[in-house]
Subunit: 236 residues, 2 copies
DNA sequence: AGGAATTTGTGCGTATGTATC
DNA sequence: AGATACATACGCACAAATTCC
């Protein structure tokens, strides 16, 4: 790797961290793969072990790798065919579950007034999706992506993980979020197959998704069937 | 500080981190106070700057201090009279809100079957509390604390933050949790003043609280009024 | 079973950059 | 502008866990 030493560039360890995230997202590093030993890897990249370790610690905190003393560093097996769902916080009541998605509708529209203010553009892309866990309908999603990041969205290219699509097709990197979880009526457009009828209370998550510079790029709303799924947060 | 060098002791940086947490919790370090410069502090504690920095990074990640380059390290102003609510995840719909609590009931009982398995003891202390945000009733809590950590609990000594009581009175250190958020009927014991009537759907959080060694010490259930409060999770 | 080799974890020290006061 | 203080980066030694022969 050629480090970017221009003034104002990111610190070395962050450059390394982002490069590795990109490698994982793109599939160049497969799930479960073992990274080279730290000392070898540091030598290859031309940096000190300490700096590399800081980057690796960052990846571990994001849940992208497993670090095992005496063994090695491993790309965390995501147990999904589509890639990483590091940001997906719904799981079956029994724990886990394989997520998948189906797009119901995609439009470009003016942002409605009841959305929190975000982004630069008065317009946004509205994506409505049905989400599954192990094949069962678990939730509905309505996603508003600020239109400044893309003129058009191609539903055929969208992968099961929207964040991967953002990264690969739009070069838009979501690095964090704020989630607000409460209870709200299921939306009027709730299709058959989703447990709660329109207007009846169900779990509700509003997410503000942020890029590395702290700007909100996307606001999403998720209504979930709490007989199927629950929202999970871990702190340690 | 005299470092614990016994075999099996925690790493130095964790000992330092825990000591500082204790100092903050106990009030020996006041909100907003500035810590000594890293080099001076490291010299005082008899350890290297790098080790101290690792402990400080840990505190920052837990949100207990602010680190400002060129300025200093500051105890994060908690904006509450009671101390830290780092683990409290409910806030007003408008953001923030001052939490307080009132104990409704305290009993020692056999653990009910519908609790997840935890702890060593067949018994647990059951605490039922009413929680407020800015004086409004926001949620009900039912807490089950494994009885192996204390024979008796003294309701008069319990502070607004149970975790502080655990630390100070029981020497029990809660360092992390798993939260499961969904929708559930308000419990039969829901008192007047709590918005949702018994049996009607409201927000629901089940929390498994862990000590540093990963053991579950406490299971709590919170029913919250989603017209008043929402559950908040941040990731970055 | 056991010991050597490998690999990550912890801790120390130092030099230099950059933000704040 | 100078002093102070945190941020980044480098390198080394030893401990602890794992792996392999």
């Amino acid at each position: 790797m050629i480090p970017d030493t221009a003034p104002g560039a990111l610190p070395l360890y962050q450059q390394v961290s982002e490069m590795l995230i990109r490698d994982i997202a793109s599939g160049r590093l497969r799930d479960g793969a073992r990274l080279p030993p730290e000392r070898k890897m540091a030598a290859t990249l031309g940096l000190s072990v300490g700096t590399l370790r800081k980057a690796l610690a960052d990846l571990e905190q994001r849940g992208l790798i497993d670090r095992r003393q005496g063994s090695g560093n491993y790309i965390r097996a995501s147990q999904t065919p589509e890639g990483i769902y590091a940001f997906y916080r719904l799981e079956r009541l029994t724990g886990g579950g394989l997520p998948s998605a189906r797009i119901l509708d995609l439009q470009r529209r003016a942002k409605p007034d009841d959305l929190p203010g975000f982004g630069l553009c008065p317009d946004a892309h509205r994506i409505r999706r049905l989400r599954y866990l192990d094949g069962d309908v678990a939730s509905l999603e309505e996603i508003w992506l600020d239109a400044s990041h893309a003129d058009r969205l191609d539903p055929d290219e969208m992968s099961q993980s929207l964040y991967l699509y953002y990264r690969d097709a739009l070069d838009l990197w979501i690095t964090g979020y704020d989630d607000h979880v409460s209870v709200a009526p299921a939306p009027a457009w709730a299709p058959d197959g989703f447990g709660p009828r329109a207007g009846t209370p169900c779990g509700f998550v509003e997410r503000l998704s942020r890029t590395a510079d702290g700007q909100i790029a996307e606001v999403s709303r998720t209504w979930f069937d709490s007989t199927i799924a629950r929202y999970v947060a871990r702190m340690r």
